[in-house]
Amino acid sequence: MPSAEEWTVVVLSLKVGGVAMMVTLPIAFALAWLLARVRFPGRLLVEAIVYLPLVVPPVVTGWVLLLAFGPAGPIGGPLERWFGISVLFRWTGAAIAAGVMALPLMVRAMRLSIEAVDRRLENAARTLGAGPGRVFWTLTLPLSVPGILAGAVLGFARSIGEFGATITFVSNVPGETRTLPLAIYSMLQQPNGDAMALRLSAISVTLSLAALVASELLARRAGRGFHVL
């Protein structure tokens, strides 16, 4: 059984990972759709920016987030002035870090599925009177479910495992930003923390495994549409 302290960490991790995934999912899908379907001038640039968090070390991402969301930053400033919101040292900041790090993985998976959607079906829908919006909601989106699920799992797992950007951006505050990886890091800082670190790692793995199983079950439901013979 996890101790009360471990429990706090786990609940926090779930909150941060869950919120990060939920909020990032639609953003990621919109980006994936844009990249898959629309040929606009700055396309490659947008793609490069989406991929950035994957490429640069997480510490740099965390640092950039810190600059952007600090009270003097271009996002943090207005946020603070107009809404009185500050994300530094807060779980919301941890969720932002997790979401940003998960974004490239989600976008790539979703884009793959969107590109695999049979355009002929979308054309058929339009002859049946469906405008682009309806086509999107009734065909593109549901037919991309495999990619959305894959993106959600990857994103959730990445969020649950996010460390470098989080500690750089919002520190390691117990109960606010000390998610599982940060707790594990803290344990590893102590010479005798190995056992605890392993324990927490096991919890981490269990959570993601649960997400994995859930997505597999959902994917099985979604997969029934395809011809095999």
Binding site: G76, T177, R178
Partner: protein, 233 residues
């Protein structure tokens, strides 16, 4: 409503000792301080970006200087209250002894295998180690054997797992690990003093912040740190 404890940003190497001090403080009826442990560099940058915290405990003076230069700390509250030593560790089973002089003998021992250190360009412990080895006149011979870890604990782990026969870490790390022994201690005059300053941040609003800072530098506070191998200053 429950009073909230101050938010303390502390260098990761203080993890165990600082937790013990915070617990002791809480036992005296104060709200428990909330301590965030990370690399001094990360914490300092968070403060520089406007993160509102109460106390900053750095593992070196450079980052505290940096904050002072930017006018982010209450200068009068800056106190260097702990010191540490630099040692050479070896796995418990190893019987190697480190001769401090002559340089040739020292170099021969240190170059027997990979030498685990914290990164010598960036991480404080690594920089101190480099300075010490330079002062002892062996850096040129040893440099090629050095493997730089992300932090001191990671360097220690390399020795604990016998990936490296020797490592240079703080005395506090060596003391905390059951699987290594101290094979030698660097003379204090071979490297800049290893000190830990604390200061209250300008953004501090918590009424308990100053009290906890004083407790840290009090005799009782320092006594707890001493149990973990720190030297009080």
């Amino acid at each position: 409503a429950e009073r909230k404890g101050p938010l303390v940003l502390a260098a990761a190497s203080l993890q165990e000792s600082m937790t013990a001090v915070a617990d002791a403080w809480a036992k005296r009826g104060h709200p428990c301080p909330v301590v965030s442990f990370a690399a001094s560099s990360a914490l300092a940058r968070q403060v520089e970006s406007g993160g509102a915290a109460d106390l900053f405990v750095s593992a070196d003076e450079d980052w505290m200087d940096d904050l002072a230069k930017r006018d982010l700390i209450v200068t009068s509250t800056r106190v260097t209250f702990l010191a540490n030593r630099l040692v050479v560790v070896a796995p418990k089973a190893s019987r190697v002894r480190i001769p401090v002089r002559p340089p040739a003998a020292l170099a021969r021992v240190l170059t027997a295998g990979p030498l685990a250190m914290a990164d010598t360009n960036s991480v404080p412990a690594g920089k101190y180690g480099k300075a010490a080895l330079t002062a002892l006149g062996v850096w040129a011979q040893v440099e090629a054997k050095v493997v730089g870890a992300e932090n001191v604990r990671a360097a220690l782990a390399l020795v604990e797992r016998a990936a490296a026969p020797l490592g240079i870490v703080y005395a506090t790390d060596a003391k905390a690990s059951p699987s290594v022994r101290i094979a030698g201690v660097f003379p204090e005059n071979t490297h800049p003093p290893i000190t830990y300053p604390v200061a209250r941040l300008k953004t501090s609003t918590n009424a308990e912040a100053e009290g906890f800072r004083r407790f840290l530098i009090s005799r009782a506070g320092k006594a707890i740190f001493a149990r973990y191998g720190f030297n009080a200053r």
